[in-house]
């Protein structure tokens, strides 16, 4: 019964609705049903069909009236959002109401949303330049932030991959001054385990190495010796095979090995039959009893860059016990580290009472969550970087907000027209918000790609010693973070333009002909954003400067030795040397050194127990005036057992006396060399040459050693700390100690590596060397934390500088475009180009000045938080802030100059006519 008058009416109504922006297919359907019903009723009363239809139409009302009435009910975006949310809520609550067969209703809001989204796409597409700028800016901001967050999350926030990791702690001894120190031996750990109430399990671990003979080759395996309870303490089980059993960690430990997953994969090609196999290890056969799972990340060795390849039992059930150990423990449930600390310190006081002289009475135990101990040193640096990158994201947000605000301002006429046609404020704001979310999502998606690259760069830049570095990845948490960052960014930079745009005054905006309106409010907000840009950029650039200067200071610091052209390596010193007595062992070392020194291009060689920036061993050193002190009260010093030639090869300057000669390196040793710091501390103002010292080892007596020389202080532990009190002893004093070999060459030391290793094998074909590294690599590692921080912050600083330049540029050029008419009038009235240039420059200069002033205040606060990373720089030194201000002012000036020059070229006639 659908004939012409009704259809004509419907098509007219549909046109009117569409013109008013009302898009709801249901209206037309519903009206059609009504009209057909009404017409049918009239037909039943006897009217001819066409007249019946006309009557129905008259009763329904003119289409203009109906369309206008619908406009009032047209749902503004926020209310539709509510419908969407309630629908989502219903789905989430699993409300069984069959709403989804309700095609019309669902279509209704979907169509509205679709309409808005389509409109947003068109609007975004229409200004490709602004969109690209916004997307790229956001991609950089979100990408960098995600990359750094993935590092922060992987390192600081994610728990260790062990069982109930929050209960695992590291135990160390604290001396009466509260500083770390003191040798923890297995005997003491057993005392703790037996007496403490708060510990569930305790275990020791320490570095170890074994020589594996496989066919004709000998290779060095580096690993960790642990007590049998180690894996239970960490809550880790073997992937297959087993871990250690009680009794295997006796004085003479059982010759069994557990392999790490990595070593098993790379050295044994995932051979499942490895368990039960016997390996030909130097000193006897070892049986492999288990392989660890892949997700078990073993604790690093003393050198934080080194990961163990195997685990073997330590001497735990022993008395007396030797060796340096680190201790991990698992707390009982619901015990806090503080409770454990007071419990263990009480235990320690008892032990000191029960065994007087062995431990100083004030000795306490420090209990620190394992995660804190691992990442503690890098935590401030990482949070600094995260803070820096968050600032960059803020700048990016400010820039995008500024861009969007500029677009919203130029579109104020469009908004006014829409408002005049009945678009509500909410609708316009909602529309803009959708546009901004669209831009944010594009930026976020691009940012995720940037984050993948960024994470790879960060990992590549990161120091090898950075704990958990191989755990860094973009995981679910990071993705959620990115999504949240994107949405928050979209809303944050979208709300402001939307709010400003929705406040448009219809009359005012429509009256203007140039499309310039809403300037006052928009421009003020945008100026504030640019000022914020400049402030943040100032902070980042200044921090970059301070860190770079710290880095330079530190690289230039006189460490007391010369690392250039020095090669280091470790001779295994096994086989023949091990079985002989001390005299033969010393002679063996002497022959190796003699052979190396004879090589062309080698100017010096020596051996030392530890090289600078690797490891430091401290023991109590008694002087003649300390003889009254008990062993536990004698102050410690850093000890180095060295051969003649070592000080010379490292170019450690001799201040007084003489270096060691071959005659010093005989049994028994009788001479010593001390550092200036040691001499100053023990004999202030006196000449130490000829004085005597004694190394205190518990229950052992040692001969007095006469001081024959004084050398410069060497920064053995860290480059940013002055060298400690050091005592050098002839190697013969502890001939069985692990030793490093150093050789000074005339060029790139690595070029000599093969020849020097060959020279060692010439002395004994069975001898192997490993850990071949230039001394400069140790300096590099010591600087690595800072290299990392400087590189990252410099990256962010540069980015911030660019972004704030873009911010200033877009603001000023926008203003110039706005003021074209005004500038034209000025030009017509006789203003010279110079005056116009100055007029525009003044705006940029004012913003820059305010931004820089704010930046100085912000930097003052920010540098206080990052001061731990500074070395030899003062935040109050005016040189760097001035330089920073200069750089920023130059960038801002350049960014202002380009649009300002355009202002001088305004043609009065064109400007006035437009």
């Amino acid at each position: 019964m659908m004939s012409r008058p009704i259809e004509a009416y419907l098509s007219r109504l549909a046109d009117l609705l569409r013109e008013r922006g009302v898009v709801d297919p249901r209206i037309i359907d519903e009206v059609r049903e009504h009209l057909v019903d009404a017409a049918e009723a009239s037909v039943r009363r006897g009217l001819p069909p066409e007249a019946a239809e006309r009557q129905a139409l008259i009763r329904f009302g003119p289409p203009e009236t109906i369309a206008a009435t619908f406009l009032g009910t047209w749902d503004p975006a926020p209310r539709r959002l509510r419908v969407v949310l309630s629908r989502i809520g219903r789905v989430l609550r699993r409300d069984p109401r069959p709403q989804f067969d309700d095609h019309g209703r669902r279509m209704w809001w979907l169509t509205g949303l679709w309409y808005d989204a389509r409109f947003a796409c068109r609007a975004v597409w229409r200004s490709p330049g602004a969109t690209a700028a916004a997307v790229v800016t956001l991609a950089l901001g979100v990408g960098l932030n995600t990359a750094i967050f993935s590092v922060v999350e992987s390192l600081l926030l994610r728990q260790l991959p062990y069982g109930a990791p929050d209960r695992i702690v590291a135990l160390t001894l604290l001396d009466s001054n509260g500083s770390h120190g003191g040798v923890v031996d297995a005997w003491l750990v057993r005392q703790w385990a037996a007496r403490a109430q708060t510990l569930d399990r305790v275990a020791i671990h320490g570095d170890s190495q074994l020589l594996l003979h496989d066919g004709g080759d000998t290779e060095v395996m580096r690993g960790t010796r642990v007590s049998a309870g180690y894996f239970d303490t960490l809550g880790v089980h073997a992937l297959f095979g087993r871990t250690f059993q009680p009794g295997e960690d006796r004085l003479e430990p059982a010759p069994v090995l557990v392999l790490t997953n990595d070593f098993w994969v790379h050295r044994f090609g995932q051979d499942q039959a490895i368990v039960g196999r016997t390996l030909n290890i130097d000193g006897g056969p070892y049986r492999v009893i288990g392989v660890l799972p892949e997700r078990f990340d073993p604790l690093r060795m003393t050198n934080r860059a080194e990961r163990p390849e195997f685990f073997a039992p330590a001497s735990y059930d022993c008395d007396p016990c030797g060796g340096l150990h680190r201790v991990v423990a698992r707390l009982k449930p619901d015990v806090t580290p503080q409770q454990a600390q007071s419990d263990l310190s009480a235990v320690m006081r008892q032990v000191a009472r029960d065994y007087p002289g062995k431990y100083a009475p004030g000795t306490a135990v420090n209990v620190e969550p394992l995660l804190d101990q691992l990442v503690g040193p890098i935590r401030p640096a990482l949070w600094t970087v995260f803070g820096a990158v968050s600032l960059v994201l803020l700048i990016a947000c400010a820039n995008v907000a500024s861009l969007q605000l500029a677009r919203a301002t130029t579109r104020s006429r469009e908004f006014a027209v829409r408002a005049a046609l009945g678009g509500s404020r909410g609708r316009i704001a909602g529309q803009l918000l959708i546009e901004n979310l669209l831009v944010a999502c594009l930026g976020g998606a691009a940012g995720l790609l940037a984050a993948r690259g960024g994470t790879a760069i960060v990992v590549a830049l990161a120091p090898r010693a950075l704990p958990r570095i191989d755990e860094i990845r973009i995981d679910g948490t990071v993705l959620i973070f990115t999504l949240a960052a994107t949405l928050v960014t979209g809303v944050v930079f979208g709300v402001l333009p939307a709010w400003t745009a929705s406040r448009v005054d219809v009359n005012d905006a429509l009256k203007r002909t140039t499309g310039a309106s809403g300037r006052a409010a928009g421009a003020r907000v945008r100026s504030a954003l640019v000022v914020a840009d400049l402030m943040l950029a100032f902070v980042l650039v200044l921090t970059t400067g301070l860190l770079a200067k710290s880095f330079r200071n530190l690289s230039a610091v006189d460490a007391g030795f010369d690392a250039t052209h020095v090669l280091t390596m470790t001779p295994a010193l096994t086989g023949m040397a091990q079985d002989r007595g001390p005299a033969d062992a010393l002679e063996y070392d002497r022959r190796i050194l003699e052979r190396i020194r004879a090589m062309p291009g080698v100017t010096g060689a020596g051996m030392a127990s530890n090289v600078p920036l690797a490891n430091v061993e401290s023991e109590a050193v008694r002087t003649e005036q300390d003889t009254a002190l008990r062993d536990a009260e004698v102050p410690p010093a850093d000890l180095f057992w060295v051969t003649p030639g070592y000080l010379d090869a490292m170019r450690i300057p001799l201040r007084r006396g003489r270096p060691f000669s071959d005659a010093d390196n005989l049994m028994p040793a009788s001479s010593a060399i001390v550092s200036e710091a040691f001499a100053r501390r023990r004999w202030p103002g006196e000449d130490p040459i000829g004085r005597r010292v004694e190394i205190v080892r518990q229950n052992q007596t040692h001969a007095w050693l006469t001081i024959v020389g004084v050398v410069a202080d060497v920064r053995y532990a860290r480059l940013d700390r002055p060298g400690g009190e050091a005592v050098y002893l002839p190697q013969s004093q502890r001939w069985y100690h692990y030793t490093r070999l150093v050789a000074r060459t005339t060029g790139d030391p690595m070029r000599f590596a093969a020849a020097i290793r060959a020279a060692v094998r010439d002395v004994d074909p069975a001898e192997t060397t490993y850990h071949v590294e230039p001394m400069e690599a140790y300096v590099g590692s010591a600087l690595a934390d800072r290299t990392f921080a400087v590189a990252l912050i410099a990256m962010f600083g540069t980015l911030a500088l660019l972004l704030s330049g873009v911010g200033v540029y877009s603001l000023v050029s926008h203003t110039v475009a706005h003021r074209t008419a005004e500038l034209g009038i000025r030009a017509a009235l006789g203003a010279t180009p110079r005056r116009l240039l100055l007029l525009t420059l003044r705006q940029g200069a004012a913003l820059t000045a305010i931004g820089l002033l704010g930046g100085i205040v912000a930097a003052w606060a920010a540098t206080r938080m990052t001061s731990t990373l500074f070395f030899g720089v003062s935040a109050t030194d005016p040189a760097l802030p001035l330089a920073t201000a200069g750089i920023l002012a130059a960038v801002a000036l350049a960014a202002t100059y380009l649009p300002a020059r355009a202002a001088t070229r305004v043609d009065p006639l064109t400007a006035l006519r437009s």
Partner: protein
């Protein structure tokens, strides 16, 4: 009755027309006309915007359904709608009683 006078009370009238059960737009118009003896005679087309408005404020719900072999949009009071109806009805009664008392004078 003039359309302007009616407009202010349209919500109440529509909700009341739906009181006895779900109804489609044409049926609502018929009910209004029949119950008011033809006094309420406003352009029928204006009912639909009003129905839609009531639906978006959650007082009515609607769905397509088959009535007498044809597809029709059927409206129904929601719980919130019943509540609103009761409230507006009370207000109207008070208002009507007061108007009556003033206009008719003391009995």
């Amino acid at each position: 009755m003039r359309a302007e006078t009616l407009k202010g009370h349209l919500d109440l009238l529509l909700l009341a027309a739906m009181q006895s059960g779900p109804a489609h737009g044409y049926a609502v118009a018929e009910t209004l006309r029949a119950r008011s003896d033809g006094a309420f005679d406003l352009p029928e087309g204006t009912l639909y915007p009003a129905l839609h408005r009531l639906e978006y404020s959650g007082l009515l719900s609607s769905r397509w359904s088959e009535v007498n072999g044809r597809r029709r949009r059927v409206y129904q009071l929601t719980r919130k709608g019943r509540h609103a109806l009761a409230q507006q009805h009370d207000e109207w009664r008070d208002f009507a009683r007061a108007v009556h008392a003033v206009v008719e004078g003391p009995a």
